[in-house]
Structures are given as structure tokens and as C-alpha cells.
Amino acid sequence: MVFASLIFLFLFLPLNLLLYYSTKNATWRNSILILFSLFFYGWGEPIWITLMIFSALVDYVNGRVIEKYRGTIGAKIGLVSSLIINLGLLATFKYSSFIVENVNQLFGTSFNLPHFALPIGISFYTFQTISYSVDVYRNEVKAQKSFLKFLMFVSLYHQLVAGPIVRYSHIAEEIDNRKEKLADISKGISRFCIGLFKKVVIANVAAELVAKYMDADASSLAVGGAWLGLIMFAIQIYFDFSGYSDMAIGLGWMFGFHYHENFKYPYTATSVSDFWRRWHISLGTFFKDYVYIPLGGNKKHIYLNLFIVWFLTGMWHGASWNFIFWGLYFFVFIALEKAFLLKTLKKLPKFFSHFYALLVIIPGWVIFYFTDTNKLYAYIERLFSFGSGNLWNVGLTSDLTAHLFWFIFAIIACMPVYHKAKAFFETSLKKPAIFETAAIAVNIVCIFLCVAQLVGKSYNPFIYFRF
């Protein structure tokens, strides 16, 4: 099941809210969340519920083992077993085919490529449980004694299939002791509606143009068309993923959880390093806290550490070399920035830094998009074949003008308009009530327009879904 679907909006969510708030008993509430979460997950792929529950059980046990045998070898065993099992699951289900293929290429062997179906959300929940085991080991958080509560943490439908990667330590208190407040529920609703709008009205529309241009035969495109397609993809992936995170965070608020922000207007970044502090923040911080810093951070062999982190970041996105290259593409720029570039950029007007950042990030998406290297090269070639004589065509003008207002809106929506508006009403006008009341109307309009788009449309892809 996905959030941006009619069944979720009109059946699943209202029923979930109704049942949850029909009881005051915390255990009942947790159980309801678990049941709904398992149903949500099972709706997409019933067969993989078992794997997810297994992963939760493994780390529940490991967590308790680590705590019980703290200070002895037992704790280490608990940690290592958690890492091995989780990474093992990931390696098997997500990377086995990729690994075998490369072994074959490297050693000239011809092993059969294993073909495992990729369970939804495995990249998210394995990382969540790994972070739990490590945090328990580091004594940053107490092991969860109730399997029910732990299962709720792992399976919670808000963030299970598409993030953010919620750290146990961030919501440990809330798992045990939630305080659902009316103000939070209200905020959550508004947040959810915005996320839904981003996904259905912006991302899904961009996706149509992406399919039209980026899936076409590259040699048939005008140069302008290739760029239009790529920019549309940059729009699609941001609004898709951040929209989904918005909905996850909003849903969390509706039930008393406070997940951390996952996006902070990444396209306003002033450097590549800055971009990665704004994009998919939960992933960046995961790699920072669990890989970069343990490796030594910026204290020893910084560039090697950065290389490893970006190699892994790229690889997390998909079992294909283009994702790894995409990660390493950022490694190059981040390394340059750390070496000297950031200092240089600070001396220039902000506009230049910003322009530089977008110049690196937007074209970078082409590496992310194509898993087939031939198609990748063909498309890159098209992007830069300015001398080909096929720069623009009538169809492009038509596409652009037909989406012009929408496009302008999308660009503005990349900027912190919402926050600036809110701050304006709160601090300058000192009348926050106007903003809050307007929000109610905006929510209804969002739902109305999104329902219209969703009815009868089966074209509702989510890019980060296969992660």
C-alpha cells in the first residue's frame, strides 16, 4: 500500500485513527499500530512480512543480549550477530545478483545469477535495526524489553517502506510513553496534506515528462529535450521523496511520534556538502554516526573515510554500478570542498555558491537515473551535443508552455516559502491564527485536488520504493 492512494486515504487512515483514539490503553494503541502496519506492509507483498518480523525478532534478542552481557564478550557477540544478519539479509536480497555478476566479470567465472525479489523497505528497516543494536551497544539507549513495542518500532507503517530512517534512540521515549496532543495531530494533518500534494500534483506530473524524455531513445531527442527531462527528474525525485517523508512525519505527529526532519530544502544548498546536510538527512547522519566517525572521521585519513562513506551511500541506493558512481561523484566534490573549495566559495557572493551547487547536483541525477551504462552514455552525449543542430523543437515549446505555471510553482516550492510565510504571520504580524486558519483551507484544497488526480489514474510511481 502507498500513502498516495484512495484506499489509504479513505479507508485505512480514518479507520486507523478511529480505532487508535477509541481507547486510552497504551498497549491497545500499540497493538493497533502493529496490526495496521503489518496489514499495510502485507498489502504490497504479503510474503515478506515474515522477513521483516524475523529481522525485528533478531535485533530484539540481540538488544537484550547486548544489555545483559554488557562489558563482556557476550555483548560483542550480540552486536556482531546483529550486523551480520542484517547486512547478510541486505546482501542476499538486494545485492546478491550484483555481487555474483561482478565476481563473474572479475574472475571469469560463470556462476548463475541468483534472482531474489527485493522485499519492500529492506534497506530502511535493516538500517533502523542496525542503528538500534549499535546504540544499545554504545549504551546510548536502553534495550527495549517488550517485543511488542520493538516490533512496533520496526514495522511502523509511517516510515517502514520509504523512510525516514528513524533511529530508535530518537523515539525511545515515545515508544514507551507517548503523549498524543491535539496540537500535534493538527500539525500532523497539515504536514501530511502538503506531502500528499507534493507527491501527487508535483512529483507524479514531473514523472510523466521524465518518462517521455528520459525513457525515449536519446538520439531522437533535441538537446533541450534532454535537459528538460533531466530537470524534470530532479523535480520528480525531490518532491516524490520529500513528499513521502512529509507524509511519514505528519502521520507520526498524528500518533504522538516526532521523527526528525529528512529534508531541508536541498535545492537551496550553497555547496555539495551543504546539499547532503539537507537531502535524505537520516541516511547521511546514519553513515556519519555509524561509518564515518567510527572510521576516524576527519581525524585520520579523512579522504579514505569519505571515499568509503560515499561509496556505500551510492551503493545503498541500488545494486548497480551507476549508483556507486553517483555516490563517488559527490565524493569528488565533497573532497574538493573540504580541501579548499569551501573556503573559496565563502569569499564569493552566495549566489555563486548556490549556482555552483546546482550545477553539480542537477546534472548528477543523470548518473542516478540510468542503470544501463549504454543508455547513460547516450543521454550524457545528447545533453552536451550543442553542435548537433537539434537544439529545440516545437514539441518542447508545447510541453514547456503547457506546464509553465506548474513549473514555476514547483521551483518556488523548492524554497522555504512555507516557513517564511509562517514566520511572517507569527513574528511580524503577530497573528499566527490567520496562518493556521488558512492552513485548514489549504489542507482541504490539497485533498480535493489530489483525490481528483488519483481517481482513475494508475500512474503513481514512487522512485525510492525499491529500496
Partner: protein
């Protein structure tokens, strides 16, 4: 928190829960339809349960589709969505290009239950299985843009050849490929938007066996490009367009075409066809089509056959006069039935079978002026023993008539190939 803030929060939560809750209740209690008129397809039914469908996720996927397809006030929502989309930008110049994002029609490929004969004509679904086509709306007409590959055309030609080489004694094979409307409307400005049709047709005809007779309908049609030969809002040709193809066919087949001056006709007005459905462009809505169909003097005995029997033939009428609105094209031959037969009083021994998709429907009726027997087989739906049927009915002429898209679409080429079993 202040009292005002608290009130606002209460209102926000209440409104949200009411909207979702009422929507949910409405969706569960309102009556479900089976067919969507404006989308011209059958709406997804509630899936039958099976363990395998449950485990591989198909069951729930279909429930999702079912829910979306049967959502209350569906048509109103679709209209809102269309109007909303139109506000995303504006039109530059005269044209607006559409890329239909949702090929929902293509999902109907597996629906072969059209053997059931009911009182009204079946919805026309001529777009089934065709390559996703780019459309453009120019002034107040919609056009499909052709872009098929030469290799695919050759594939099509090979399949036609295989029928020629079946060794059925005395069987004369014909091929007639129908161009798209845009072929005759191109100004220099828009020429690059599609691949020229004639060279593509020529390429196919060059691949065909020399004993196959090729019909140059495109040349005959071109002479009449100023006339109402294609619909403005639908991807089909009008019966007039089909008539000119019929004239070209007669020339190739050595027949005398009937003259339209002497034929009575009837008209179905306000037809908004497939291209309107796909684009929902307001300009098309203001320029609806009319479907003219000719009432020939010949006494035609029209029968609907079955894929499952070579001997079953149920009496019916050549025109489905109950068709109207967006279904109007189904007036021809009662829509897309797997196999129909027409017998006339012309005892000249000429018996022809036509293999077609929906374009052939407007064409076939003209043949009652020249043939003793006409069998019309829809390549998408007929699953019977085609060759046995040809032999049983004593067919001595076989015409493959396809629009240029179908001739370049793997789906259609496969279907034609599989008729042979």
C-alpha cells in the same frame, strides 16, 4: 497554547476526519458500475480470491484498482482533474501535445469475453494494445503522431507473407494499410512531429510477396483530404475515409465500387471519441464529430459467429443502431466482435475474409456491394481455428487491413500471427 489556537486545531482535526470518514463511507455504500462510459472501458471488478494472487500481491493490487475505479462521483473527479491540468500552463501557438500517461486500455488485452452477444453494440476499444501514441491537438482537431520502426514493419510483412504461403489453393491475399489523419495535414512547421506514412507503407509493401495485392489506399485518400475523412475527436476514420480506401481496394481487386450518390445514409451526431477521452481537451469538446453510416440497397444477412464453433452463426444486423455518445463508432458491425459474417444476393462466387482491428469496421460494410460472402475477423479477439474457418466458408480472398500503428505494433503483429495457431 491560546484558546484560539486550540479552536483552530479542533476545527482542523474535525474537518480532516470528517472529509476522509465521509468519503470512506460513501465509497463503501455507493452503487458500483461495471463500465465507464467516458473512459470507454470496463471498470476493474473486485478480484476473485486465490492463494497465489494473495501471496504475489496481485490480489491487493486489483483491489486497489477496483477501489479507484469505483470511487464515488468518479466522472466528476476526472473532469476536475482535467480542468486542473489545463491550468498548469497555456498553449503556445496552435498546438498542444499530449502523451497519454495512462494506457489503461492496454490492460484490456486479456479480456476476450466479447463472445457474449448482447442487445447493444459493444464499446469500441480500438486503442487496445497499441503502442503508446503521442497526440497533438491542433486548433480543434486531435491527431495521433506516427513513429513506428522499419524493422517492425518488416515483421508485419513477414506475418502477412506467411498467410500467403499457407498453400490454400486459389486464395488471393491483399494488404491495405491505413495512414493516420496527420499525414494529410502537415504543414512544414509540424512535419517533424511524425514519421511520414507513405514511405513506411511502401517499405512494408516491398517486403510482401509479389503475389500479394497491395492496396494504395493512401493515394486515393490523399485526393480527398479536404473532405471529412477522419474524425476530429477520435482516432478512427469516418465511413467516407473508409469509402475512399474501398475505392482503391476495388481498383486492385478488379471490382466496380458503389457510387455514394445513390446510397441512403443515417447520421449519429455529437460523437466525442477516443482522442477526446485521452486528452479531455476543451477545444475538442466544442467540435464533436458525427458518424455517418450508409444503408445499401443490397439485402444483407448479417451473422455473429463464435471463436468456439465453426457452425454457430446468430442472426443480427450489420449496424448497431443503438450505439450513441462516445460509443457511436460501434454502429459499424456492432463493434469489435471476434467474427461476423455477411451474405448478400450477389452470387458471383467471390468470398472474402477480412482480418482487421477496429478500423476495418467502417470499411467492411462497403463490400456488401461486391461480394457474395464477407467474413470479418478481429485479430485481437478471434481465438478459433482461423484456417479451418477459411476452408469451411470457401473463402477465396483474404484481406489484411490495418491502420499504420497496428502494422508497427508487436501486440498486433503477434495477434495476426497467432490466428494461424
Amino acid at each position: 497554547m491560546t484558546k484560539t489556537e486550540n479552536t483552530i486545531n479542533i476545527i482542523n482535526v474535525t474537518v480532516f476526519t470528517l472529509v476522509l470518514g465521509i468519503g470512506g463511507l460513501a465509497s463503501l455504500s455507493m452503487k458500483k458500475q461495471a463500465v465507464s462510459e467516458i473512459e470507454n472501458r470496463q471498470l476493474t471488478p473486485f478480484p476473485a480470491y486465490s492463494d497465489s494472487a494473495l501471496w504475489n500481491g496481485n490480489y491487493f493490487r486489483q483491489v486497489d484498482q477496483y477501489y479507484a475505479d469505483n470511487f464515488p462521483l468518479r466522472n466528476r473527479w476526472i473532469n476536475v482533474s482535467g480542468s486542473f491540468r489545463n491550468k498548469f500552463g497555456f498553449e503556445s501557438g496552435d498546438i498542444k501535445i499530449y502523451e497519454p500517461a495512462n494506457d489503461a486500455e492496454a490492460n484490456e488485452i486479456t479480456d476476450t469475453t466479447k463472445n457474449t452477444v448482447n442487445s447493444g453494440p459493444l464499446p469500441d476499444d480500438g486503442a487496445v494494445g497499441e503502442v503508446k501514441k503521442r497526440l497533438f491537438v491542433f486548433k480543434n482537431r486531435a491527431f495521433e503522431m506516427f513513429g513506428g520502426s522499419t524493422a517492425m514493419g518488416k515483421s508485419y510483412a513477414n506475418v502477412i507473407n506467411s498467410y500467403n504461403r499457407l498453400g490454400i489453393p486459389g486464395l488471393q491475399v491483399y494488404n491495405l494499410i491505413i495512414p493516420v489523419a496527420l499525414e494529410f495535414e502537415l504543414t512544414e512547421k509540424y512535419k517533424k512531429l511524425q514519421k511520414p506514412n507513405r514511405p513506411a507503407i511502401e517499405s512494408i509493401y516491398n517486403e510482401l510477396d509479389s503475389t500479394i495485392k497491395k492496396v494504395w489506399a493512401i493515394d486515393e485518400i490523399r485526393k480527398h483530404r479536404e473532405e471529412y475523412i477522419y474524425f476530429n475527436t477520435d482516432h478512427h476514420w469516418t465511413s467516407l475515409g473508409a469509402y475512399y480506401a474501398y475505392r482503391a481496394f476495388c481498383e486492385t481487386a478488379g471490382l466496380t465500387p458503389v457510387s455514394l450518390d445513390t446510397v441512403r445514409y443515417k447520421v449519429k451526431s455529437t460523437f466525442l471519441g477516443s482522442l477526446y477521452r485521452l486528452t479531455r481537451d476543451p477545444k475538442l469538446k466544442e467540435n464533436p464529430d458525427s458518424v455517418k453510416y450508409y444503408l445499401f440497397r443490397d439485402s444483407v444477412r448479417f451473422y455473429i459467429g463464435s471463436s468456439n464453433s465453426l457452425t454457430y452463426w446468430g442472426k443480427s444486423k450489420m449496424y448497431g443502431e443503438g450505439a450513441n455518445g462516445s460509443n457511436s463508432y460501434s454502429v459499424f458491425l456492432q463493434g469489435d466482435l471476434p467474427i461476423v459474417k455477411m451474405e448478400t444476393q450477389h452470387n458471383n462466387g467471390r468470398k472474402i475474409a477480412i482480418v482487421k482491428e477496429s478500423y476495418g469496421n467502417a470499411f467492411a460494410p462497403f463490400l456488401v456491394n461486391n461480394y457474395e460472402k464477407i467474413i470479418v475477423v478481429d485479430q485481437r479477439y478471434y481465438t478459433g481455428d482461423f484456417v479451418a474457418m477459411l476452408k469451411k466458408e470457401g473463402i477465396n480472398e483474404l484481406l489484411f487491413i490495418n491502420n499504420i500503428f497496428a502494422a508497427h505494433t508487436p501486440f498486433h503483429i503477434e495477434k495476426i500471427k497467432r490466428l494461424k495457431k
